[in-house]
Symmetry: C2
């Protein structure tokens, strides 16, 4: 287990000297099958796989769940042994943000709507820590889950615009048997909330069917369907239902090409997101 | 001559495959002996030297001299032949900032006073383009002139805080025989302004003598001396005289340790900066 950036650089140089390709899976720990699927994909593409576990304070808002975010490190390390024991980087906060730290990366455009509107400093925090992890690890490839669709857009934009020599691989969302997207935050849900939460993925499946089977092209009709499905559960508060271009995240009025539907909702105090990417042949 | 990032990456990979160490000298062209001394130093440290020539629009304010900034590319290439013909990267603006570009790097702290106050977006522009050049070139070491002292502080802070794997080497300011710090902007000066401009470096030499020979420790006494020296030339308007800690750029009241004196002034419409670093043994 590597805990300092200096050790990480040494490890990285060694791997590159051995002509190995470094694959990075950045995580905040509390690992689940979604994370493990990223590691498995990394194992296929890269011969030196690194999992970082760091609950990044700068991507949490002041009233968000930074302090209660789960940190089951022992469990995480045990789980990683089941997927080939990748190298693990577990820095503490002072290692990533030493006293006087004062640099930030801002991505415009795709970071502005949806999560960016509700969590104003979130994506600056994400971009900054992801860049630091890329540069400290010397990653050749980095693996992200489609579950955090907007985050992937922000990271891709940063990579393109800053000429970062890292390839981004996006892996499918992994779901519970009933369809709920896996998330470390699912642990916050009570038993009854957990049962209710499935309506999120169900609403996306409904929307997907409307578009691909029923050929419905009007965005508001689809959005209304999603909303009324979610609203069958009284305790869920919808943050947004975005039906957008997957590249720009601009809202569509008619579905004529590839579309992503992004949703966020609160069940009690737990905020969950999900999305579905729909490839149409208009 | 390389003009695209794709070619640059190919060149960079080749050099690293040959186990060569890449030294980057980032410039805006209009090369003078100051730049050439950076290349000479790079030649000593690195066996693959790259000079970038790019007048970076994002570091100029709206009323600054972006459009009139000199671009004597033929002369620049000829000068570079006199210092070992380094590889040259000359991208156009669309190559560095393609349509839709929307990422910026912000460095706090050292970027705030002095140039940061007078040129509000300047250092965000500098940090962003320097990071892009580092990442696109795969530079191992980068060479900057002490002439742009605050810029060096900003770049160092960015490198430290973002864990950028590039070593920064700072080379001494190169001066005209009369002491004027070499600058591409000296070309803007009329003959009489050129004669007057020497007062800037003269005022710094005076200040340095006060501190090292006369052991004067009171900052205001030194600042007043610099001001009255510069004000012997009626056409010069002082922007600032900073007497500061070289690491933090915080203003000092007493000179007890290493000190840098930063000055900026306008002669007509031409803005010049200069500085002197003074090592004291209190």
């Amino acid at each position: 287990m590597i805990t300092t950036i200096e050790e990480l650089r040494r490890w990285s140089r060694q791997q590159h000297n051995l002509q190995k390709k470094i694959g990075l899976v950045p995580t905040m720990g509390a690992l689940h099958d979604g994370h493990l699927s990223l590691v498995k994909t990394a194992n296929q593409c890269c011969n030196a796989v690194l999992v970082s576990i760091f609950v990044n304070p700068t991507q949490f808002g002041v009233n968000e769940d930074f302090h209660q975010y789960p940190r089951p490190l022992e469990d995480d390390l045990r789980l990683l042994q089941t997927v080939g024991s990748p190298e693990v980087f577990v820095p503490n906060t002072a290692e990533m943000y030493p006293a006087g730290f004062d640099v930030s990366v801002h991505v415009g455009g795709v970071s502005q709507p949806f999560e960016g509107q509700i969590r104003p400093a979130h994506f600056d925090g994400v971009a900054t820590i992801v860049l630091k992890l890329f540069l400290a690890s010397g990653a050749d490839t980095a693996f992200f889950g489609q579950k955090d669709f907007q985050q992937v857009c922000v990271v891709r934009k940063m990579v393109d615009d800053l000429n970062i020599p890292v390839e981004i691989v996006v892996c499918p969302t992994i779901r519970e048997p009933d369809g709920l997207a896996m998330s470390s935050r699912n642990k916050y849900l009570s038993k009854s909330q957990r049962l209710q939460a499935v309506v999120l993925s169900q609403s996306l499946t409904l929307a997907e069917k409307m578009i691909t089977d029923e050929k419905i092209r009007d965005v508001e009709t689809v959005r209304q369907k999603i909303r009324s499905k979610i609203e069958t559960v009284p305790d869920i508060k919808i943050d947004y239902i975005g039906i957008v271009d997957p590249k720009t995240l601009h809202e569509l009025t008619t579905i004529n090409s590839d579309t992503v539907i992004l949703i966020a909702a609160k069940i009690g105090t737990t905020r969950l997101i999900d999305n579905v990417l729909i490839t149409t042949t208009s």
